[in-house]
């Protein structure tokens, strides 16, 4: 980016500065640490100069926004044209409860829905299953059948909103239910917009809500990708997720590398179905965490975009620039929130959200300050949404595209993140790909080690957490109101489900479930049959049970 002679001159000046000016300063005011590192372990220099980005080629490595390699952003005008989607993850209690929260969020200026399901739903159990005891509607909304999804979206026109669903193993089932509600509302399938998380690979080493073994899990993910490529042109069939990898303890660098590798695996599995890369790659979407180290996060987002573009172009020979787009949703980091002095979490969330915006995200969820204590209350959710709105409307950071582009530090860090992520990708290739790496416990061990290291650093006060290991206060009163789920939610939900099971056409349900069993054994794409099954009000648990019989259940590989 700079002329050789200029860089040489700067180098000489730096050496002079280090010899003559710097020592006096350090003598009078020694640096706080012998070395400074970010969460990923990258050594941070005292000061960055053009020397650090002398290899950077503007057109090759940065380019213009909306053009390859997309480092500066996917859209030519970014937030000057359209703000990111403010999408708040919500769901608790019954479908009625969550329907109310959805309508509230839409009325407060939210622009997209995002559904949190309870654990039984996520694990493919109906609300009346013994494993569901005490969990119904507690961490998300309880969904057992199409009937619940009809209530969930009651009065919400599906052609006017986009909906994200955080669901993985049962993603084909929930998507089928959404399609069924759309059909009932008379919305053409081509107009249904939204996202199913449907990223089963990361379940095995990050979120760990696995139902089936790795291979059938990837098969189900691919079924949805293939079906959407053919029938739901506006749906994002998968949200390839680094968020959970990070929350499980990975560093920013591991999050970046492992997420992109999962993306590679899904591209490969879909190509094996005979689709062309440009038929589906433009609908792949990504989901990252935003943590506390501000510049590390910004560099991560920028590096992710550039690296994905290069992988799609060079590894998979995509031709359509849209296939090289990494569209991302970002969520501020839940594991950085503290139960101690919870109002401080508003500040953490603000810094994290700002990093996501400066990193060029398409969509953002901001956590509520009370989430280390309970599910967020309405007031806490409002503050979280307002945080985004203040960044969007008051801070001025939206006035220009990629404001940090060209920063010596940010560009050097972006490059280093990209290079180190490539080393990981090479390593996973050598291990035989994502499934092989899971079976060998590679990701699990990497993440467990990072999580443990982080905890040690906190305990040794190498890492300061305000209000936790420094600036703590004794005998804290819990100042905030907690949201509790009434145990009667479980009773009502179970009663509604059992009534449905009595009143539906049970012969038809049985026939369709047998048909599904057959289709699963034949390795057909299961989407059409599952849509048929949910429309006959076969339940989530019944459908999952059929698949459990055919695919078996995953036995956790325990890595401490």
């Amino acid at each position: 980016m700079f002329e050789k002679e200029k860089v040489e001159e700067i180098k000489l000046e730096r050496e002079r500065w280090e010899k003559t000016t710097l020592p006096n300063w350090i003598r009078q005011c020694p640096e706080c640490k012998s070395e400074f590192r970010n969460h990923s372990g990258i050594l941070i220099k005292r000061v960055y100069t053009p020397e650090d980005i002398k290899e950077l080629d503007y057109m090759r490595d940065l380019g213009f926004p909306s053009e390859y390699p997309f480092t500066r952003g996917l859209h030519a005008t970014m937030y000057r044209g359209r703000l990111w989607t403010m999408r708040m993850f919500a769901g608790y209690g019954t479908a009625e409860d969550t329907n109310k929260r959805f309508k509230y969020l839409l009325s407060e200026g939210e622009t997209g829905l995002s559904t949190a399901f309870d654990y039984p739903t996520i694990m493919g159990y109906d609300s009346d299953h013994p494993m569901a005891r005490g969990e119904v509607g507690v961490c998300g909304v309880a969904i057992s059948s199409l009937q619940d999804v009809e209530v969930l979206f009651n009065g919400i026109p599906l052609d006017k909103v986009t909906t994200s669903m955080t669901i993985n193993g049962p993603a084909p089932i929930l998507l089928s239910m959404y399609i069924a509600v759309g059909d009932k509302q008379g919305v053409p399938r081509g107009k249904l917009g939204g996202t199913t998380q449907n990223d089963n690979l990361k379940e095995f080493f990050a979120q760990k809500l696995c139902i089936f073994p790795p291979k059938p899990s990837v098969k189900l993910t691919t079924d949805v990708i293939e079906y959407c490529a053919k029938h739901l042109p506006k749906w994002n069939p998968v949200s390839i997720s680094g968020y959970h990898i990070r929350e499980a303890g990975a560093t920013a660098l591991q999050e970046l590398a492992f997420t992109l590798y999962d993306g590679i695996a899904y591209v490969e599995s879909t190509l094996e179905r005979g689709l062309k890369v440009d038929d589906f790659a433009h609908r792949l979407s990504f989901f990252f965490a935003s943590h506390n180290d501000f510049f590390e996060e910004i560099a991560k987002f920028r590096a992710a975009r550039r690296l994905w573009a290069r992988i799609m172009k060079e590894r998979f020979h995509a031709k359509n620039p849209r296939s090289m787009w990494m569209r991302m949703h970002v969520q501020t980091s839940g594991c950085t929130l503290t139960a101690q002095q919870p109002l401080n979490n508003i500040v953490r969330t603000t810094i994290q959200a700002l990093a996501a915006v400066l990193g060029g995200t398409q969509s953002l969820h901001t956590n509520s300050f009370d989430e280390a204590l309970c599910l967020p209350t309405q007031e806490a959710v409002r503050v979280a949404l307002r945080t985004q709105q203040i960044i969007a409307y008051e801070s001025g950071v939206t006035n220009t595209v990629d404001p940090l582009g060209g920063s010596y530090y940010v560009e050097a860090l972006t490059k280093e993140m990209e290079e180190k992520a490539m080393e990981y990708i090479q390593k996973i290739d050598d291990l035989g790909g994502a499934v092989a790496a899971i079976e060998k416990g590679f990701f699990q061990k990497e993440i467990a080690d990072s999580a443990y290291r982080y905890q040690r650093e906190v305990e040794e006060k190498k890492r300061i957490l305000v209000g936790v290991n420094e600036f703590a206060i004794e005998e804290e009163e819990c100042p905030i109101e907690l949201l509790r789920i009434d145990p009667k939610v479980e009773k009502e939900q179970v009663a509604r489900l059992q009534k449905l099971k009595r009143e539906r056409d049970n012969r038809k349900v049985k026939e369709i479930l047998e048909k599904l069993h057959y289709a699963a054994e034949k390795e057909e794409n299961l989407m059409p049959t599952i849509i048929e099954a949910v429309k006959a009000y076969a339940t989530l648990g019944e459908i999952t049970d059929v698949l459990r019989k055919v695919y078996g259940e995953y036995k956790e590989l325990i890595v401490i």
Binding site: Y119, G134, E135, T338, Q340, C374, A451, V458, E459, N469
Partner: protein, 135 residues
């Protein structure tokens, strides 16, 4: 002569939630402190946890839960421990358990509840000080 037996700890994840970062960090810290640690893995029913405690002859059980289902699951675990005669086993818990639930949980016989941000050293010290005396 009696050789000194290592403290045996079962770290268990009842319920459906999959947040195992805390459980694993605690398991590793207790192991590094010289204890014998058995980790159940995710999604264990109360019956499975108590059965493992019995089979593994543990002195201590640490329960980790972040889903909010502790109010349904902890009473069941404590009841089963009594049924199986494991009343000597010391039980502690961690995760997201609201302060106002703590007295009720302690009444069940759970010795201590550790919230988010607890240093592992505090947990190690607690286990050492509250080790049940084996007959």
């Amino acid at each position: 002569m009696q050789s000194k037996r290592k403290i045996r700890v079962l770290i268990a994840k009842p319920g459906l939630d999959s947040h195992d970062r805390g459980a694993k960090v605690v398991a590793r810290a207790l192991r590094d402190a010289g204890m014998e640690v058995i980790y159940t893995g995710l999604r264990q029913t109360p019956e499975q946890i108590v059965e493992t405690a019995l089979q593994e002859d543990v002195d201590v059980i640490g329960l980790s839960i972040l889903s909010g289902a502790h109010r349904a699951l902890f009473p069941r675990i404590m009841e089963l421990l009594k049924e199986k005669g494991l009343t000597e086993v010391m039980v502690f818990a961690g995760g997201i358990i609201p302060d106002e639930d703590v007295p009720e949980m302690k009444k069940l016989g759970i010795k201590e509840i550790f919230g988010p941000g607890t240093p592992t050293e505090k947990i190690i010290e607690f286990v050492l000080q509250n080790m049940p005396k084996k007959a």
